[in-house]
């Protein structure tokens, strides 16, 4: 019997598998397919203060080994998430959920985090300072150590639950930003968000996405994500949730060896809606094959 339990800042998960924000909605589509209570947890759709329609379509483009999205934080707004989505979620998911919060100003992050912090269903707050698809918000707070630290400090001052800062890979030195978040009081780090990219429609000779650029995800970004988790693990001592192109149990083990305590699965959910279930079922088999009895023993195991 292998041990797959991991702990994020006092929150114990049955296994480290967490569907990533924006690829799992608020869970219901997947609850129709399998019992989502088998998940470690899941990170719900990025939520802002106001309802948002998001960007114009096309919002999706395929790439080699991955995809671009420019959804632009479509969500019903924090008030409706609390009054409608969370009660609906409570009927199909009975574990603590990860609340993914985004914003366009420091006050907006503080407002939303303070409200979501009071929700008993929420086990952990993931603060998205890394969305590449909105203007004057999201990623602009995550691109310098100073602004990342300022948001961290503010959110920490209005919350009691663990706060994980979700970082962008579209920066020169992600380890420096992670370090700044840790020093500002972050309980953990989530990384990576998508890599900014684009495609051009050959017939129209124009960008394929209505937003021109979008965020690259899928297997293609796995080595980049792994490298960044590895670097951030060397820079901080708080837990890391690793993500980016994870689609198999082997990928999960690699992420944990690089330094992740838990692992999110993103774009793979969109291609195979059962992928998280399959990874969870596969994980003990892969652990046995690799001689791993307790996942906690391999966190950061690739570092000498």
């Amino acid at each position: 019997m292998v041990k797959t339990q991991v702990t994020l800042s006092g929150l114990t998960l049955d296994n480290p598998i967490i569907p990533a924000s924006g690829t799992f909605g608020y869970g219901y589509e997947f609850a129709e397919l399998y019992d989502i209570n088998m998940l470690g947890s899941f990170s719900f759709k990025g939520t802002t203060r106001e309802p948002r329609y998001g960007n114009a379509t096309p919002r999706i483009a395929e790439t080699a080994g991955g995809m671009l999205n420019a959804v632009g934080l479509q969500n019903p707004g924090i008030d409706k998430v609390i009054s409608e989505e969370l009660p609906k979620l409570a009927t199909c998911f009975h574990k603590p959920v990860i609340a993914n919060i985004s914003g366009f100003s420091a006050e907006e992050y503080a407002h939303c985090c303070a409200l979501i912090d009071k929700q008993p269903q929420v086990g952990l707050i993931e603060v998205n300072i890394s969305c590449p698809n909105v203007h004057d918000g999201g990623m602009s707070f995550g691109t310098t150590p100073e602004s990342a630290a300022a948001i961290t400090k503010l959110v920490k001052s209005v919350t009691t639950k663990p706060v994980y800062m979700k970082l962008s890979p579209n920066v020169a030195d992600i380890a420096a930003i992670a370090k700044a978040c840790e020093e500002a009081g972050a309980d953990g780090i989530s990384l990576i968000n998508t890599l900014m990219g684009m495609r051009i429609d050959l017939r129209r000779r124009r960008p394929l996405l209505a937003n021109t650029t979008g965020g690259l995800s899928g297997s293609a970004i796995f080595p980049v994500a792994l490298r960044m988790v590895y670097q951030v693990y060397q820079a901080v001592s708080i837990p890391i949730i690793g993500m980016g192109g994870v689609s198999t149990a082997e990928d999960v083990i690699e992420m944990m060896l690089a330094g992740a305590t838990a692992v999110q699965v993103g774009a793979a959910n969109l291609v195979d809606p059962f992928v998280c279930k399959k990874i969870i079922e596969e994980l003990p088999i892969v652990m046995n094959r690799l001689g791993i009895s307790d996942l906690n023993e391999i966190i950061g195991g690739a570092h000498s």
Binding site: G22, T23, F24, G25, E29, F30, E32, L33, K45, Y53, G54, T57, P58, R59, I60, A61, E62, T63, A64, G65, G66, M67, N69, V71, Q74, G218, S219, A267, N269, L270, V271, D272, P273, F274
Partner: protein, 244 residues
């Protein structure tokens, strides 16, 4: 929605760049005409959403046009090959709204979903009229299949080489005693029908999709009843909710 492995029973060219593929496997997730399937292809990250043309207890027929590398890959697949397919996606058409004599209007790659819709309406004792629009005579497919159902089938060609000269709206203009309309085709066609048809209707839309089952918000559109996901809340929208 179900996920399963389906075996290709046939895959044949029925018009230039247009193929009909018959898949064998579980069809229990299909609930209405106008739904679609989402097909995983080796070497491509995203699945390919294709509307269902027809189905029975153990087979699904799809018709697709080769427009890129994914559909070109599909066209090269042989009988006996297996595909990972998500089945029973989208809402589909509501046959309860049809009245006694509905119009089924398909344009080009929008023709296929009208076929199973016609069969269901016939089974319910309705008298559907099919209007099939193509650019040229050589692009026409499934005319005989519709005619074999015993329903009135009007073909339109934009160049006038066969049937009614012009667009499907030119054929609709010659009819007056229809009770409802169902439409699938390019957006300019849908918009023209929206303005031209006197009755209520249901229109099936296309959008680039991520997942196809409502998770990613990649294909959202605005309607009078709020934001809708083309893949999950559509692809069929009621005439009265559409915002152009």
């Amino acid at each position: 929605m179900t996920q399963g492995i389906y075996t290709i029973l046939s895959n044949r060219c029925i018009a230039p760049n247009v193929y009909e593929m018959v898949l064998q496997g579980d069809t229990s997730a299909l609930r209405a005409p106008g739904q679609f399937v989402n097909i995983k292809l080796e070497g491509f990250f995203l699945r390919r959403p294709i509307s269902v043309c027809d189905y029975d207890a153990s087979t699904i027929t799809i018709i697709y046009k080769v427009v890129g590398k994914g559909t070109a890959y599909m066209a090269a697949l042989n009988t006996g090959a297996e595909l990972d397919v998500l089945v029973g996606l989208g809402n589909g058409f509501d046959t309860a709204k049809s009245g006694a004599q509905p119009l089924l209007i398909g344009g080009g790659a929008g023709v296929p979903p009208m076929y199973h819709l016609a069969k269901q309406l016939l089974a319910q004792g309705k008298q559907p009229i099919a209007i099939l629009g193509f650019n040229t005579a050589e692009e026409i497919f499934y005319q005989q299949e519709f005619e074999a159902l015993g329903i009135r089938t009007i073909v339109c060609t934009a160049d006038g080489s066969v049937g009614v000269r012009g667009f499907v709206t030119d054929a609709v203009a010659q009819l007056s005693d229809y009770t409802f309309y169902y439409a699938c085709g390019p957006e300019p066609m849908l918009k023209a029908l929206y303005n031209a048809c006197a009755s209520d209707g249901e229109l099936s839309f296309e959008e680039r999709m991520g997942c196809g089952f409502g998770a990613c918000m990649g294909c959202t559109c605005k309607t009078k009843y709020g934001n809708k996901r083309i893949c999950k809340d559509g692809p069929v929208l009621a005439k009265e909710e559409i915002i152009w």
